[in-house]
Subunit: 350 residues, 4 copies
């Protein structure tokens, strides 16, 4: 991230999640309802656990915005954790509050527990769980919402949808698939697609490997907790060259592609067609019917720790991917068109 | 890239490809035969065009190495283009040499031509082709070879292989598949797998989105020209949670996973198992039987420009992916263990 | 900043100042009293205005620290603005709260007002003042305090002192100098020195321009509001080579320098001697006896806007410089020695 | 460096110096005579040693430029070392060429020798000298010349001059001052000023510490070998606020400052006045009448190694500072105005 840069922070049961965004142009309208609505979208989807009912996330802005408009200075977003009161002592930053309550030491397979405990030398795996939890994606969605507000000023819009849950490819069957797994104490993953429309030609570049937009998008989506596969456009497996590539023609004086197997990216750049990014999420690793594992303290085999969790969170994952892609696109747009104010950006853009 | 940082340069028919690598520890043995052998691996594989016979790439080192060891200063790698003599005038940097020879204006679908011509405002598409060509991956492989030499000092080794070409999943059928397409003037893509062994636990991190190793690897592989799909470990589509996650057990006092669906990464970190990254390459877009397209000058429909090309280059792509993953791992290792000399790095590593 | 990276945010009269620090090793003891004491040091010094009495800054940690130790995850620091209640409406982020109260349009010479109003297209100069104010250095000092806690673990310690105020070079005369100016409604600058002791040899590097420690320190100090001069070691003006350079000798088997004109840096690297960085701060531009300027709205000449301010803040500036140098040194130490935990860092360091 | 990014490489007696510049817009005219002339300027000035006569540096461009214009792809600049033939074996990258010829082990005070030998664990100090030498500034000047070509398209121009050598502040006395020192086998430093004109208002920013233009310039100048002091505008020591700050007035409808003590920067941003940056260079540490030091092998006291050197190089230093400031300004301009082609940049700029 070069112009649209930010850091996020916050533990799953800490006081709050925080983000600071640096590099926004001045004069951008910040619609807090829009941000809250994006946060709400992340909390929806069949298969979510109880926490989603508790949370009902909303954002507070503590810097960088005055009277509804960005000042050009860093924007701080804060999303409070609603059940922090219950965790206040357990998650305290003060040395004198030290407690073993809620500590655990059985590595949960598929999570950061084992590698994280080695890396950061933690015997209480809560010290790993708290930040490795997907809870942190809430503030990421808030950052993405701000990026989307920027993109909207240029007419760029994004959506996403779930296209497969477990083995069900038809939305009508998603709930049933989830209910069966819930009954078994098992979990499901799935597939989602993110679509961005009305992008200009030439975001990204072929001139240096790290400027390829496809690579930047892949990083943003693959690093979402639980995502294991990223595709740009159509998976080319089984296609011949003559079938796969999108032929070019002229329509009303404009260059168009007959198909969009490329997913809107050729040579690492947007080519004027819709941007299509697909991700596959693995099944949630926290399961009521626990996996076999090892206890870090005794080094004996046992069953994985279970904490309140979802059966399926592909819809949330899809919203997070949509938000993260907005980050990258916002950064690309700011790099390409410059501008210290939203009006300058728009003038350069047109 | 934070410690292992580099830039590459060079046009496909320019004088040479160049890379500068900054951030290597001092005292690393630079085995030039090893680098040249990696360059050779990139040029192999059934289905390559004639250029591969001309090239036979070798590297020259013009800085940063003395008497076979790195000095700690930036290392310059140069790979000459063997047929530059024939292109000297056409690719000249001097204003007085301007010529239309080898110019073309028909957008090749699947290439950077169209978006690149808009982005950089070029009417001669050679000005796009020359840098967007996969030729630049030669110097990337040289950079990767240096990264592999660093990793080897820590016992980390990488390999890669092609697992599918067109519809053939068995190596015995690869040649046949390619020959058929060559006969038709068509092209093929395929699938490859990169494997790294003996990685320490805890490269990458879950603490911030851009520190996830999975994301960094996905960027490195997805931004290879023609790659459209990246997978870490097993594609989870169709798996239930109870089937997918790798149960943990103790063997000889060490933590192990029973399976490796995660591909060696949990929570964005290496978990001690083999790192497995899969990529899918689209069919090469340059075809003898040309695709329909548009001429940029006349805006009339025509057939795509054809320039000497391969029928299939999945093997090269696989070697490039292996090299690029070495970049990321070298950077991660240097970040985690520090050290201004190879001996310090090794001391900290153990 | 490569490993010790952070962003700060917050307006002078906003709700709070916030910083997120990413890249700290796990297990570092966070002594909140130490941080608060550093904040207090910034608020002291003869010549400060009334705000210093109101503020009495203290920090709250909302992420990244549990039971007194860092988790490896991003650390959020929050410093509340004590008089926010009075400014709540004036600094509101909500569009419906828009007001002209406290708006002003006369450019204050020596401040960001004029250039900032052009850059971010602001007619109410409060939108520039609020972030360009030196108030933001409070949170920078908090970040520096965390960096100092890290450095302390390695035995590295820093101090700073004011060596000149106005024309007074003797601390005994500082108050008098300030009092005279206060009487005249005028302001003073001065000179300060930052000193760091017990640094290892070899932080920074000569291998690439942006790795020189001298350059990084100069950036950190020169970008403090009001600093116009940075010196490393002794100002060489008027010295001959034979006088300036620090001859080398052996003492108890260790290499030492007879003098320290170099200020502890040779070839862009620490050389084992004390690090000495000097800065010169300009007089505070906000004055009771106002400067002549222009009103942005009428484009007519007028007198500069006056807001509660200090007569002299060199001592605060000195503490900020000390804090910022801690940032750079913390980053350098983490880059050179690696380590995901404080214990690993210390093991590699020794 | 965010958009105008580059790496340089090369040893003092290696085959060549190399730079790769990534991020230039396409369509920029590259006037090779201009670059060569800048290289020549670096080699001038009274007090230079014999090497300047041998060198007569010229640049070769091996990528990124075709028919005199940038392509948008990375530009490779190569400056050959003219006397490489004599050093070919001594500086060979091949392990089999290892030799002790030209090796030395006496630390030269004021150079990188001691700290560099510890950091990179080198017993032959040539392995430190070769990269820490100011020879590398030749390629930095070439990079700066390209940046200046970019700035010239926007009407921004830079110059520099030496204002003091030793104790002589009048150019008429510079030669005499140098001659006296040459006679004594001693060396001199001095002071130089860099001036850039016609800058737009609002390069840099106050919103985050690392976006202050003053800080970025200070880094670029302070990290030049031998520079110990950097000043932006007038050194404020001894000024009262009422004297120092530049009052604002209106002239022909435009905002102007009556004086320019600020050196063209307020609030970390350009304010429309001339940019004035002053640096002080220490005397060259390599002296015919050698300093006392220690031999790294015997740990006994001895005299410093002497290698062909200058008596005074303030003029070269001044040209290097001018070039480096061009880097920063080019990066700032590209960040603020965007544009993938020089025409887009110019359109956005106006």
């Amino acid at each position: 991230m070069n112009k649209f840069r930010f850091l996020t922070a916050g533990e799953s049961h800490g006081k709050c999640l925080t983000a600071i965004i640096e590099g926004l142009p001045a004069g951008l309208n910040i619609d807090i309802e829009f941000i809250n609505n994006e946060l709400k979208r992340r909390q929806q989807g069949y298969g979510r656990g109880e926490r989603m009912k508790i949370e009902n996330d909303t954002v507070e802005i503590t810097s960088g915005v005055r009277f509804g408009k960005t000042l050009g200075s860093p924007v701080t977003l804060v999303v409070k954790n609603r059940d922090f009161e219950a965790w206040k002592k357990i998650m305290s930053s003060a040395p004198e509050d030290v407690t073993n309550e809620k500590a655990f030491s059985t590595f949960r397979p598929g999570h950061a527990d084992y590698a994280g405990s080695i890396k950061y030398c933690q015997s209480d795996l809560r010290n790993v769980l708290e930040r490795s939890s997907a809870r942190k994606t809430a503030i990421e969605v808030a950052v993405g919402a701000v990026a989307k507000l920027l993109l909207k000023e240029l007419g760029i819009t994004g959506t996403s949808k779930v296209t497969q849950i477990g083995s069900a490819c038809c939305p009508a069957n998603f709930s049933e698939e989830v209910d069966i797994m819930r009954g078994k104490g098992d979990t499901l993953g799935g597939r989602f697609v993110v679509l961005y429309k009305h992008l200009p030609v030439g975001l990204g570049s072929y001139v240096h490997w790290d400027r390829g937009l496809d690579g930047r998008l892949a990083q943003a989506v693959m690093s979402i907790p639980a995502v294991k596969v990223v595709e740009i456009g159509t998976n080319p497996l089984g296609y011949k060259g003559s079938e796969y590539h999108d032929e070019i023609f002229v329509q009303d004086g404009e260059i168009k592609h007959k198909t969009n197997h490329a997913g809107g990216i050729e040579g690492g750049m947007t080519n004027g067609e819709d941007l299509v990014v697909t991700g596959v999420m693995k099944p949630i690793p926290t399961m009521k019917t626990p996996l076999k594992t090892v206890d870090a303290k005794t080094m004996e085999e046992t069953e994985a720790h279970f904490e309140r969790s979802d059966v399926c969170a592909v819809e949330a994952c899809s919203v997070v991917a949509e938000a993260r892609i907005a980050w990258i696109l916002a950064d690309e747009v700011l790099l390409k068109y410059g501008g210290d104010t939203i009006d300058e950006l728009k003038k350069n853009y047109n």
